[in-house]
Each structure stands twice: as structure tokens, then as C-alpha cells.
């Protein structure tokens, strides 16, 4: 497994290059030397503004959101022992998105800027906890995905209701952003607000990763080799809820990245859920940075939403992965 050794450094390098490329490209292309001098604060004020206030935070937001979703997806797949588990598919993102919309709609956000990420995280945790309760009762992923469909539909319906009642077009377009998912116009301020939650979630998932490896054996056997299953479930749900909720707070609901990245990574890490976490996060981050570059380069009257593009790529991949599975696994 030589490829495995270069996987993480390679993805890291590719991510840095992609974020750099994101700073070059746009409505006014900048040359690499102008971007570099802007990085080091020696460019003219216009370039500084474009790089530091617009392009870099946007690219970083795309990367962080992708990384959080890729990590959550890989961890949930390990916990539920199924490659189709993912925050978007399981309805976690939609529920987080609904909670965030509620906070916006009722103006709770005016109390403190922390209200929005916390609302999104609480929504994500509620959905993840419900799914885990269901996962304890049934071994069938079909049931879980159906619950996810239910959660997504409910969140969608509730969101439509809120939109129905929306007081003005301004809040309406805000909500559409939440449903579709976008990293346009993100600032470093917004990133710093959600970053602590992402880091906390990522740290929890990373520190409990070996428990995901032993879950390969099935729950009873994992207990047999010394896993505290209850604690593992709680921590994985908490970690995935924090990371997903934080990513929704930053970019709205973006689906399917968390399913595609781990699927590509898995063969390179010997199908070990623990070793798939970091590369999945990096690859998912990379995918979203590239997708967002695409969104910015395609000229349309209304800006394309990142979440829409992610779903256009991700949903067919989801169907393909589902069709590859042998039914004997359930």
C-alpha cells in the first residue's frame, strides 16, 4: 500500500494549490505574483481587498465546509457500518438548516452572533441522535435512509412553511441560500465563528477513530474486543453533529460530498474507517473548493449555488454506490 503513504500529503498539497488557484480566478483574474504579494501584504489596496476579503475567505469556507462534511460522512459510515451514511442523505444537514432558518426568521440572531451556529449545531445533533437511536434498534441501513428521507422532507416542508410566512423578499432570498447551500460572500469573521465548533467536532471524531475500526467486526464483536459501544456512539454523534452543524451554519445544506470522498479514499486505506477520516476530509474539502471555482467561472444571470452543483455531481454518485452494493450486507 505505497499509495496510502502519499495519499494524505498529496491531498494536502492539492488542497493548498486549489485554494491558491481559487484566489487567482474570478471576474478579474489575478496573476500568481499579484496574489502572492497580496498574501504577504505588499500588493496594492485593490488586490489586497479582492484576495483577503473576497476570494481567500470564500475558498477557505468551501474547504472547511467540505472537510467537515467529509469527516462527518466517513465517521458516520464507520459508526453505521455502511457506505451510504452521510449527513446530507441522513437528513442531518436539512435539520440543521431548518434550525438555522428558524433562528434567522425569529430574529434570534440579533441576541448574539453565536446563536446561528449553535442553532444549526443543535439541529444537527437532534437529527444525528434520532438516527443513532434508530440504528440501535435496527441493523438495516434502508430503515435509516428512510428516516433520513423523512427528516429531510419534514425539514423541507417546515422550511417552505417558514418561507410562505416570510415577511419580506430579503429574508426569503436568505432562506433560499440556506436550503441550497453557498459560500459566496463569506468573511473571515463568519469563519472564525464556526471554526471552534468544527475543530471540536473534528477532534472528537479523530480521537475516537479506532473504535470505528473495530465496529467493522459488528457491534457484539466490537464489544468483545473491548469497545465501549455506548460511549463510541455518543461521541461519534456529538462529533459529527458539531462538524455538520458548523458547516451548515457557514454554508447551508450541501449534500453528498460526505459520501463521495470517503468512497474514493477507502480502497487506499485498506477499507479502515479510522484511516479514512483525514484523507476523506481533505478530499471533500478539495472537491468543494474545485466545485466553487466552477460555480464562479460559469457565467449565469443568477449565481449558481454550490450546494446545487455538489448535488448534481454527488447524487448520481450516491445512486451508483447504492447500486454496487450487494444486498447480503444488510
Amino acid at each position: 500500500m505505497k499509495a496510502a503513504r502519499y495519499l494524505t500529503p498529496g491531498l494536502l498539497l492539492a488542497s493548498v494549490l486549489a485554494i491558491f488557484a481559487a484566489c487567482l480566478l474570478g471576474s478579474t483574474p489575478l496573476s500568481p505574483d499579484r496574489v502572492l504579494s497580496a498574501f504577504f501584504g505588499v500588493a496594492d489596496a485593490g488586490d489586497q481587498l479582492v484576495v483577503w476579503s473576497i476570494r481567500l475567505p470564500r475558498a477557505l469556507a468551501a474547504f472547511l465546509v467540505g472537510a467537515a462534511l467529509g469527516l462527518s460522512g466517513a465517521a458516520l459510515q464507520g459508526l453505521l457500518r455502511n457506505p451510504l451514511a452521510e449527513p446530507g442523505v441522513l437528513g442531518v444537514s436539512a435539520t440543521a438548516s431548518l434550525a438555522a432558518t428558524f433562528a434567522l426568521y425569529y430574529g434570534l440572531v440579533s441576541f448574539s452572533s453565536w446563536v446561528l451556529p449553535i442553532a444549526a449545531i443543535l439541529g444537527a445533533l437532534a437529527a444525528t441522535a434520532l438516527l443513532t437511536l434508530a440504528a440501535i434498534r435496527t441493523q438495516s441501513i434502508v430503515t435509516l435512509i428512510l428516516i433520513g428521507v423523512g427528516l429531510s422532507s419534514f425539514a423541507g416542508a417546515a422550511m417552505s412553511l417558514v418561507m410562505n410566512l416570510a415577511p419580506n423578499p430579503f429574508s426569503l432570498s436568505d432562506m433560499i441560500n440556506w436550503m441550497l447551500g453557498s459560500v459566496a460572500n463569506r468573511s473571515f469573521g463568519e469563519i472564525t465563528l464556526v471554526l471552534p465548533f468544527m475543530i471540536a467536532g473534528a477532534a472528537i471524531l479523530y480521537l475516537t477513530r479506532n473504535g470505528l475500526s473495530v465496529l467493522t467486526l459488528g457491534e457484539e464483536a466490537a464489544i468483545g474486543v473491548g469497545l465501549n459501544l455506548r460511549q463510541q456512539r455518543i461521541l461519534t454523534v456529538l462529533g459529527a453533529g458539531l462538524a455538520t452543524g458548523a458547516s451548515v451554519a457557514l454554508a447551508g445544506a450541501i449534500g453528498f460530498v460526505g459520501i463521495v470522498a470517503p468512497h474514493i479514499v477507502r480502497p487506499f486505506v485498506g477499507y479502515d474507517p479510522a484511516r479514512s477520516l483525514i484523507p476523506s476530509a481533505l478530499l471533500a474539502g478539495l472537491i468543494l473548493v474545485l466545485a466553487d471555482i466552477g460555480v464562479r467561472l460559469v457565467h449565469t444571470d443568477n449565481e449558481l449555488k454550490l450546494g446545487v452543483v455538489a448535488a448534481l455531481i454527488g447524487a448520481p454518485a450516491f445512486v451508483w454506490i447504492a447500486m454496487q452494493r450487494r444486498t447480503t450486507h444488510d
Partner: protein, 253 residues
């Protein structure tokens, strides 16, 4: 010397009894076979003994320490548990699956430290898996996979080993091979408690037999002491003739 002592243990699922007033001991050097019909409470007895289910009354103790008070890691380092074999979630390499048995020693896949790597290697050799070590588990036959599961249980190098039907769904040759592996483990100083449905395998390998029926332990002793035509009739509901270590069953009563 690690000894598991279960005394007067009763397990309940809400209001239904799973095991009633069961007592037995397991010590190194023994290969104890647990026999009984489906639904007799064998798996529940194992889980209660391991401390995975809290008894309603009675106690299961490992060298005097209540097993349900042990942490999952402490328990796994002393009692290797091989539950009924379920399909693996991912097509891992054989060596990685065996290495999962070192979880209770803090091992992480992909970077095994000295003692863990040695234990994994010993388990792979003991279970005759050297040829398969780099293979993906989804390319193995049922018999080979059963050896992989045994190897990962042995890799913990726990003094006691508890297995629930490790020979289920295997052909006769693989049943013998799995039981040989368990006998070798006992020969190296371990103590094993194994659920079987095959009286002939029990006759060949067991140093002691425990018989269960209707949630209770009926008998606990050597083959000669506990195997009679009457016992097979009461436990399994079959007509049988017993002649020394040979048992012939003539069908259901």
C-alpha cells in the same frame, strides 16, 4: 491464574427469564463445551458471564472481581469473546482484521507497535493464515473467514476465551480445524468455553461439558459423567444410543 466464576446468576429481559440460577467455573487448561437446544439460554449465559448483561441476581467474577464492573478494555484483555460470526462491514485485509483483536491493548491499524505486531503475527501463524494475511476478507471462504475470526480473538492473548458457535455453517474438515485451533490455545495455557451443537465434536475435544435446557444448567462434568441416552432425550428431544465416546442419534422423538 485467571479464573471465571459464575455463581447463582439469573438474567432477565424485562420480565422474562433468560438464564436461571446458573453456576459454573472456567479456568486455564480447560476446554469446556456448552451444549443445549436453540433458545436454551446459552448465548445469554455467555453474555452474563462476560458482564455484557447485568444479572438480576447472582454474580460473575473474574478472580473475585465482578465482570460487569470491569471496563470494556479490562474485560477484553482477560476474556477474549468470539460472538456468533456476522459478516464484516468492510472488505479489510486479513492482517488488519486480526489486528483489531489488539484494540484492548490500544493498538491502531496501520501502525502496530512491537508487542501488538508480534501478537498479531503469532495469531496469524497459529491459525494458519500466513498465506492469506494480505488478502481481502471478501475473497475468503466461510471456513477461512472463521479462522480469521479465531485469529483476531487469539490476538488479544487473553487468558480465557469464550466462543459462541465458532463452527456454525462450516464443513466437517473446517469444524475440526477450528476446534484444533482452540485446543492448541488451551494447550498454550488458555481456558476456553465454547458453544457447540455437535455432540461428536464435543466428545472429541471437550475436557468438560455443560448442559443447558430451559434457561438452566442441567449438568456439568466429563463426557462419561454427563452423556447418557436419557440426557440427550431430555435436552434435545432425540432418541440416541451412547457407547463410550460414540453417540448415535436415531431421530426426533
Amino acid at each position: 491464574m485467571t479464573e471465571l466464576a459464575v455463581s447463582d446468576m439469573t438474567l432477565m429481559a424485562k420480565t422474562i427469564a433468560l438464564v436461571e440460577a446458573a453456576s459454573f467455573r472456567l479456568a486455564p487448561g480447560e476446554l469446556v463445551v456448552l451444549l443445549g437446544p436453540n433458545g436454551a439460554g446459552k448465548t445469554s449465559l455467555l453474555r452474563g458471564a462476560l458482564g455484557l448483561q447485568k444479572p438480576a441476581s447472582g454474580v460473575a467474577a473474574l478472580d473475585g472481581v465482578n465482570t460487569s464492573a470491569l471496563s470494556a478494555m479490562q474485560r477484553a484483555r482477560n476474556l477474549a469473546y468470539l460472538p456468533q460470526i456476522r459478516p464484516l462491514a468492510w472488505p479489510n485485509r486479513v492482517r488488519d482484521v486480526v489486528a483489531l483483536g489488539r484494540f484492548s491493548h490500544g493498538a491502531a491499524l496501520g501502525r502496530l507497535k512491537g508487542a501488538d505486531a508480534d501478537a498479531v503475527e503469532r495469531a496469524i501463524i497459529a491459525c494458519d493464515l500466513v498465506r492469506f494475511a494480505a488478502r481481502r476478507t471478501d475473497t475468503l471462504s466461510g471456513g477461512e473467514l472463521a479462522r480469521v475470526h479465531c485469529a483476531r480473538a487469539f490476538a488479544a492473548e487473553a487468558p480465557l476465551f469464550i466462543a459462541d458457535e465458532p463452527t456454525a455453517a462450516l464443513d466437517p474438515r473446517h469444524q475440526f480445524r477450528i476446534m484444533d485451533l482452540i485446543r492448541d490455545y488451551v494447550g498454550r495455557g488458555g481456558g476456553a468455553l465454547v458453544v457447540l451443537h455437535d455432540i461428536h465434536l464435543a466428545a472429541r475435544y471437550a475436557t468438560r461439558l455443560i448442559w443447558m435446557k430451559d434457561k438452566r444448567i442441567l449438568a456439568d462434568g466429563s463426557f462419561a459423567e454427563t452423556v447418557t441416552a436419557d440426557r440427550l432425550e431430555t435436552v434435545y428431544g432425540v432418541k440416541a444410543r451412547v457407547n463410550g465416546l460414540t453417540v448415535e442419534m436415531d431421530g426426533a422423538l
